[in-house]
Symmetry: C2
Subunit: 187 residues, 2 copies
DNA sequence: CCGCCTCATGACATGACGTGTCATCACTAG
DNA sequence: CTAGTGATGACACGTCATGTCATGAGGCGG
């Protein structure tokens, strides 16, 4: 038994999500979150860089996962093929099954401009991971950037469609459709 | 002659850019900007929503310009064709000729995480304008979103390349090349 | 010429955010 | 037994951002 109740980070996150749901993001203060978790404001900032980060903590390891997937893929894999495979894996591992939670987060993010900015930053971080992966595979800077941004476009458009959908289409199926539509646009 | 020296907003912007160049963005406080402009802190926030907005004020009307271009384009125009034409116009009107200033801004943006976030928000605002333009033209939600995001990808990749280039290639020429490369990737 | 209105700014107060710093104290290694 | 480690508390501080009221020049109708 340690001196403090364990899982301080998890308690802070749970408290924050509760309060965001009750009062909205902007109306809940960091001291209120810390108080509900039985901790101090200072401790909150030791676990999260700022108030917004709480909402994105669950997906913190996605860029690292992307980097790993790209590094381990066979050197012969074609870029777009690699993206398709990678997105299937990421979708299955990190998104499928969290639909309700992700919908809730999407609604919160929509409600606050600061959160929208942070969301964009997270997407950009994923794009950066993809881009570096392609650079490491020897692609030139333009191709790497183009493929990375396109990859993120595919993900975000697909996830938006997935979260909006009432039926139970699988995310990877939607991803495939969206890619086909993009191909058609550019043909 | 009015009661106050005119151009408060412009003076604030000039003061801010000077101080950002001298001390960096983070080290510059709003009171310092206001003082250099001969105004008060409160007045700064009357002209700019926050410290970051100063850097992006010059491009505030781009989304409106995009909306106008899309609304005025002939109804028969194909989406991708429309994007290509529109980007040529926007590039010529808003970017070509500001290379030095835009390079400077890019360096500042790179130096600060908060500014990177704001930059992404501005891109997203442009994407949103394009998306709404396509929705107004009757495209379905997925196509509109896909085309809008792709449009922004083309712009940002091209501008990055343009600002990095040492030769004097024109931005619209780079745009065309980048689009061709994207087409090749997806073929 | 007068009085009223408008509106950009000044002046002041306030609260939240985020960080630096030091003390505390359970646990652990040696 | 002792020294070290590491998460937390306690406190101070500076900046950001906003609400509110006062001020006073210029414009306008009378």
């Amino acid at each position: 038994m340690s001196r403090w109740r364990p899982d301080a980070r998890e308690r802070l996150q749970a408290a924050a999500l509760d309060l965001f749901a009750e009062q909205g993001f902007a109306a809940t203060t960091v001291p209120a979150i810390a108080a509900r978790a039985g901790l101090t404001t200072r401790t909150f900032f030791r676990h999260f860089a700022d108030k917004r980060e709480v909402l994105f903590a669950d997906d913190a390891e996605v860029p690292a996962m992307v980097a790993k997937l790209m590094a381990e893929a066979p050197a012969t894999a074609e870029p777009m093929q690699l993206i398709v495979e990678g997105l299937r894996t990421v979708a299955a591992t990190r998104f499928e099954g969290r639909k309700a939670a992700l919908r809730h987060r999407r609604d919160l993010v929509r409600s606050d401009e600061g959160l929208r900015e942070r969301d964009l930053r997270k997407r950009a971080a994923m794009a950066e991971a993809v881009r570096e992966g392609f650079l490491a595979r020897g692609l030139d800077a333009t191709r790497a950037a183009l493929l990375a941004e396109t990859c993120v476009t595919l993900v975000s458009v697909s996830i938006a469609e997935w979260l909006d959908s009432v039926d139970d289409r699988r995310l990877d199926e939607i991803l495939r459709d969206v890619l086909e539509k993009l191909r058609a646009e550019l043909a």
